[in-house]
Symmetry: C2
Subunit: 193 residues, 2 copies
């Protein structure tokens, strides 16, 4: 079965919708990890961006790492994960960008070592979730500071109705999301685009 | 070439020893990720613990996730990563254990959802590094609280001279480390066991 169908079916089966617009998929995506599913999703994302000369698959810790590993495997390039640091405490030698977590309601800074990202790199961004787009914007800022080219973003689950993905598309970013949620509700369940 | 040789050669080639007993391997293991190498290491760890009925591969965020994904893939079971939480703020519904990070010189708490770890589980622990054993002890405590059986620990790089691994072995834990560092020094380089 295609990776997209597998993922949608798994979200329908095991995803739990909670008040406050929370979709809990930690039984397979971001706490417990179904590596067979993640590898299929990673291979599909890689296929969408093949032939573009990607040299780095960039994500953010912690829940993007699993997907990024499998995407990078199929693009035959390294994965790289931005680390979360306290904003007040940024060392030299890193590219950094501020971000806000709506999940945890805090501000933090993403950092990537300058050793591993530069003007010679062609980057594919990837993450487990895309909602308001805040994390992707921080990764884009890091790539801009590094002078790296970005070919797009490959996402496991996009909450399309939150609008962050479509704003970024309107600004010219190519985004490929393996599952796009049109709406969700604790009573009515989940509808896909 | 065998995974162990590949890993040792990579440590010799790209590992950097800094004062304060720091081995920097973030060009391939815990910031930038060489997924081909990590998959070979993960497959080897899985082979060492095959046939033992492992149902979960347990690690801790963030740098253990990549290895755990590949180990779990080859053991055909889910990976599960303990999240780091502020000690003061632990919810119900999780198994937790306190740990100390010598790298960051802070205390934190590891948490795993009770939904994903219980008395029916047979667990293989895995991590990128083993030095003083503090992280492994926290994972063991979580498994003990959950009533889960632990078959051992598969580690990418053990700093053998720090003694944490051998203390745990003396207590009965089976540990398989893919590279064991006997000594290291900024001037004299790295010696393996």
């Amino acid at each position: 079965m295609a990776a997209l169908q597998l993922l949608e079916e798994r979200i329908r089966k095991d995803g739990k919708v909670f008040p406050g617009d929370v979709l809990k998929v930690d039984s397979f995506l971001n706490h417990q990890l179904d590596t067979e599913l993640l590898e299929a999703v990673g291979a599909e994302i890689a296929a969408r961006f093949s032939g573009l000369g990607v040299t780095k698959v960039l994500t953010t810790e912690a829940s993007g790492i699993a997907i990024a590993c499998f995407v990078a495997k199929y693009l035959h390039c390294p994965a790289l994960f931005a680390k979360k640091a306290k904003t007040a405490n940024i060392a030299d030698g890193v590219w950094s960008a501020n971000a806000h977590s709506y999940t945890h309601n805090n501000d933090y800074t993403m950092v990537v070592s300058k050793e591993y990202l530069g003007g010679h790199d062609t980057v594919l961004l990837t993450d487990d979730f895309l909602a308001n787009g805040c994390a992707l914007r921080a990764l884009l800022e890091i790539c801009k500071k590094a002078g790296a080219k970005v070919v797009g973003a490959g996402i496991a689950i996009e909450k399309e109705y939150q609008g962050g993905g479509n704003e970024l598309r309107a600004e010219g970013l190519r985004i490929e999301s393996m599952a796009r949620i049109a709406s969700m509700d604790a009573e009515d369940g989940i509808s896909f685009c």
